[in-house]
Symmetry: C2
Subunit: 227 residues, 2 copies
């Protein structure tokens, strides 16, 4: 989902891993960081290197802090890159994803929901939450699911279509037309704004209709049954 929190004006490339071409083996984390830095590539923030027995407590603390600003979470890597990396997301980010998904509940709610809900359950268990913390988590989860859905139902009742706004920035005006035909070929229902000049780029706002959620909500409001 779109996040405005990384301070990026436009797109950017990040180096996550560097691998040998022949056998696909990854460089150790610190070697990769050094190499990427020497060549001027952008990398994600390194929060630190932790001994394995201290890592759970340190990472829990980082996750709690990141959650406060709705950052997504961390990827935990073996410095030698032998063990598989582990992605660990903040509860706030899970909930932000759910809020986004449930606004378009019939387009993206179903499959999206289950893994995030399970993460919430395991995190509460791992953190050995108090009754009060668990209650807050349950409320947060319920609100992330129901509030955006109800907002969408209201909008359809007021004859609006459920849609989301996305923005793209391109260097070349031609790219806009080519992206539009690409989306139309995919059958996505989109409205493009007039391109706006920003620095040496064009900014285009795209309104994308979530047809499935709009239609389903309309049909239920008109008395059709769920199926």
């Amino acid at each position: 989902m779109p996040k405005d929190i990384y301070g990026l004006e436009s797109l950017d490339f990040f180096v996550f891993d560097i691998r040998y071409k022949a056998d696909g083996k990854p460089l150790p984390v610190m070697k990769r960081r050094e190499l990427a830095e020497n060549y001027g590539f952008t990398q994600v923030k390194l929060f630190g290197e932790f001994a394995i027995e201290k890592a759970p407590a340190e990472i829990t603390e980082i996750i709690r802090e990141l959650g406060k600003t709705e950052h997504e979470g961390v990827v935990i890597k073996d410095p030698e890159m032998v063990l598989q990396p582990i992605k660990y997301t903040c509860s706030e980010s899970n909930n932000a994803d759910l809020r986004h998904a449930f606004r378009f509940y019939n387009d993206s709610g179903r499959d999206y929901m289950f893994p995030r809900v399970v993460r919430e359950g395991f995190q509460s268990f791992e953190w050995n939450e108090s009754e009060e913390e668990l209650r807050e988590r349950c409320l947060r989860l319920g609100e992330s699911i129901l509030r955006p859905m109800i907002q969408s139902i209201r909008e359809v009742e007021n004859n609006r279509r459920i849609s989301e706004d996305v923005r793209i920035r391109v260097k070349n005006r031609d790219t806009i037309d080519r992206f539009r035909s690409y989306l139309e070929r995919l059958g996505v229902d989109v409205v493009f704004s007039e391109p706006e000049r920003v620095g040496d780029e064009y900014l285009v706002r795209i309104n994308k209709v979530n047809q499935s959620t709009t239609d389903k909500t309309k049909s239920i409001l008109e008395g059709q049954l769920w199926s």
Copy 2:
């Protein structure tokens, strides 16, 4: 899910509809009730017959009352049986179903969840809930999902297997063995209690292991990733 609220000791047959054999046309509701009563068949409770403009308010009231005792809900029928019947469930029953499903989240959580969650969203909209009512509904939903899941995680951590108890009553001891072989042929992992004599029947408790939830939880607790 098993409900203990209908005051039944064992199984019972209920007549819901009576149809003509030749063309499948249903009898009007009142005719069906009369006929079934004359023949001594059990039927579900009739809450009343309502004019169409009064029905929404009356049924809302019934649903709120039924919810308090976790009854499932109502089936709304056209007296002439021309329009399709509509099943309308209580929020409390949706949540009871979710609590049951999320205890066995990896066996029954996924597909089970979505329609019930959507019902909660529409009911809140239909009832035009206050901020306080909506908050309570969100909390109820979140708790129905997370609490049973966390309980299951705790049980697996304590080396218990996630299982559910069901009971059957049979007239004939042979039926028990035949039911057991049937379940074993299906690959269901079950433990049968010793049959207990109750009146002219045998009561058997069956413990059914939810292998998928047990295994998945165990593997995550041992450090495997969700997939």
